[in-house]
């Protein structure tokens, strides 16, 4: 059975089409990375799947249950960590967990033991007795995720779990999500960070303007924009033509040149000593080389190719 199945959902706010015919599926036991820039519709998608909003059109199923027709059944099997920390600041960490357990109608004793277990697991045992107001951003996030896991959800939704964290907390959050993933927690993860999706997700869906514009594994997405590239910078722009000729034997496609930067972009197949061969050829052609760089495609390149803009291009203020 599919953990998530979205078919052609639409959601508009006035003239803004937050979701514009978005469809995607996600198998159980996997981590899906939903990648998109500000305003792409990530949070809106999560809100539909977690029963917070109703789509204008289209259907969305979680574990085969319709989110619109049966929201209570869906709520019983999901965990949500929203984009903004959803904790009761005035209570302690432990109280927060026991409180949510009560709202899930777990027996009090089970709620207490589950809370203890999660505090341990999320490295919050000492902090558990302090009020959340005194927590750091990273601790809040960890507590937030712990709260989402209290009733052992069948699908976990994490909406930009590392946004706003410092690099260290971000890294430990990655470890945590990786761990959950390797235990088989089905996770729907949204992010603006390309490296994050690549590191954590089994497969990636790229969305923009409320639509899916690409999907696949990180490798598949990279293949779509072509393989590796060699970026060569030479000393004299006049020699660009001669350099291109010299490197033609290595290229797997058309060589691009940029005279302003005195650079050549050569599509290649990595490995097999391309780098020394390139330098030798340039040397033979008497082109002075300033820099040679082997550039592997990043998801940034994927984004640029697919949307014509970088992921963080449009600074949108909401």
């Amino acid at each position: 059975m599919l953990a998530v199945e979205i078919d052609n959902i639409h959601k508009s706010y006035g003239d803004t089409k937050a979701l514009d015919g978005l469809s995607l599926t996600m198998p159980q036991g996997s981590v899906l990375g939903v990648l998109g820039p500000n305003g792409a519709g990530k949070t809106t998608t999560v809100k539909v799947l977690t029963t917070l909003i109703t789509p204008d059109r289209g259907s969305a199923l979680v574990d085969g249950i319709d989110v619109v027709a049966d929201p209570d059944k869906v709520r019983a099997r999901i965990g949500l960590t929203g984009q903004y920390a959803a904790v009761e600041e005035r209570l302690t960490g432990r109280e927060n967990l026991e409180y949510i357990a009560r709202l899930f109608h777990m027996p009090a004793a089970e709620g207490r033991s589950r809370a203890r277990e999660l505090l341990q697991r999320f490295d919050l045992v000492e902090a558990g007795e302090r009020v959340v107001l005194e927590y750091s951003g990273g601790m809040r996030r960890r507590l937030d995720i712990a709260m989402s896991l209290i009733a052992r959800p069948s699908v976990l939704f994490l909406d930009e779990p590392t946004t706003g964290l410092d690099p260290r907390s971000r890294l430990s959050m990655w470890e945590l999500i990786e761990e959950l993933g390797s235990e088989g927690t089905t996770t729907f993860l949204t992010t603006q960070y390309l490296d994050e999706a690549e590191a954590l997700a089994d497969s990636i869906v790229v969305i923009d303007r409320g639509q899916v514009i690409a999907s696949g594994t990180a490798d598949e997405l990279k293949d779509r924009i072509g393989g590796d590239r060699l970026v060569v910078t030479i000393a004299n722009a006049d020699n660009l033509g001669r350099a291109a000729e010299a490197l033609a034997g290595l290229a797997t496609g058309a060589i691009e040149t940029a005279s302003v930067d005195r650079q050549l972009l050569i599509p290649i197949k990595a490995g097999g000593g391309v780098l020394p061969r390139a330098i030798r050829s340039l040397d033979d052609a008497q082109c002075e080389v300033i820099d040679v760089e082997l550039r592997r495609p990043s998801l940034d390149d994927v984004f640029l190719t697919l949307t014509g803009k970088t992921a963080n291009d449009d600074e949108e203020i909401r």
Binding site: T51, L52, I78, A86, R102, H105, A151
Partner: protein, 275 residues
């Protein structure tokens, strides 16, 4: 396929989608305890909840007490104090609106809407917590009132009915405040708006002076103000005076306000949170 995981999920799903009033109460109480728990940790809150009723009683009694006489009462204080008590618990209802606006402005409300609880419990729980807080305020006020010479001049039962009535009315206004808090966009607005309407409601009434002393055009407004009706009923009961149908009418007003504003608040809650 019956792995332990699916079995567990299935079992939980069954027990986690409860309906019926007992679950509403249970969820509401969970919510209420969330609010009540933090009160003891907040010395300023306790100080405020304690000082305010004391201050109100002393200010009104010593500033106005000597200047005015109320015909038919042994002492103006016997007239005035039930009015002050009514006003104080009504003011106490403001925390409902502010509290809900605060919850809405945080991410917590999204979490609450994604767990299998009864959604209306969020508001019911808030009003219950404020009722508990207002009862505390009321008790303090009663003690201070006794210290400045207030007495139950009717039976203890009548005094009890009067107390229940005033608290019920403050509970009813909590529902009005709930609608205010859910309708405005910010905590600050909930605070100002929540207090704003309470001034005319509590002053254009019989709480501090008999309505006959007001200008002619104002009298019918003051006379028909539900707050006047409740104050009159409470005052009559505390003083052991004949209350006629006033008590029944006051209870009816309170229940009607709860009914109407509960429906409006639930609807507003669904609208504002489903975005």
């Amino acid at each position: 396929m019956t792995s332990p995981e699916t079995l567990e999920v299935g079992k939980r799903a069954r027990q986690a989608v409860p309906t019926g009033p007992e679950w509403l109460l249970r969820d509401a109480w969970t919510e209420a305890t969330r609010h009540l728990r933090v009160i003891p940790r907040n010395p300023e809150l306790i100080a405020f909840a304690t000082i305010q009723p004391i201050m109100f009683v002393l200010l009104f009694v010593y500033v106005f007490g000597g200047a005015i006489t109320a015909p038919g009462y042994s002492d103006y204080n016997q007239y005035l104090l039930p009015g002050i008590m009514a006003q104080t618990v009504v003011f106490g209802s403001a925390t409902t609106g502010v509290g809900l606006a605060e919850d809405l402005s945080k991410g917590l409300v999204d979490r609450l809407r994604s767990v299998p609880m009864q959604q209306s419990a969020v508001i019911v729980g808030r009003t219950l917590a404020d009722l508990v807080k207002n009862t505390f305020t009321f008790v303090i006020m009663l003690v201070v009132a006794f210290m400045v010479g207030f007495r139950f001049e009717g039976s203890l039962f009548q005094a009890l009915v009067a107390t229940v009535l005033l608290l019920l009315f403050s509970y009813a206004l909590s529902w009005v405040q709930a609608l205010v808090g859910l309708s405005v966009k910010s905590v600050e607005a909930a605070n100002s708006l929540g207090f704003l309407w309470m001034f005319p409601v509590t002053f254009v009434s019989s709480a501090f002076v008999p309505t006959e002393t007001m200008p002619n055009w104002l009298q019918p407004i003051a006379e028909n103000n539900p707050f006047t009706r409740v104050t009159n009923a409470g005052r009559a009961l505390y003083n052991g005076l004949p209350a006629d149908g006033a008590v029944v009418e006051a209870f009816a007003w309170s229940l009607a306000i709860i009914g109407v504003f509960a429906v409006l608040s639930f609807r507003k809650f669904r609208q504002t949170t489903a975005r």
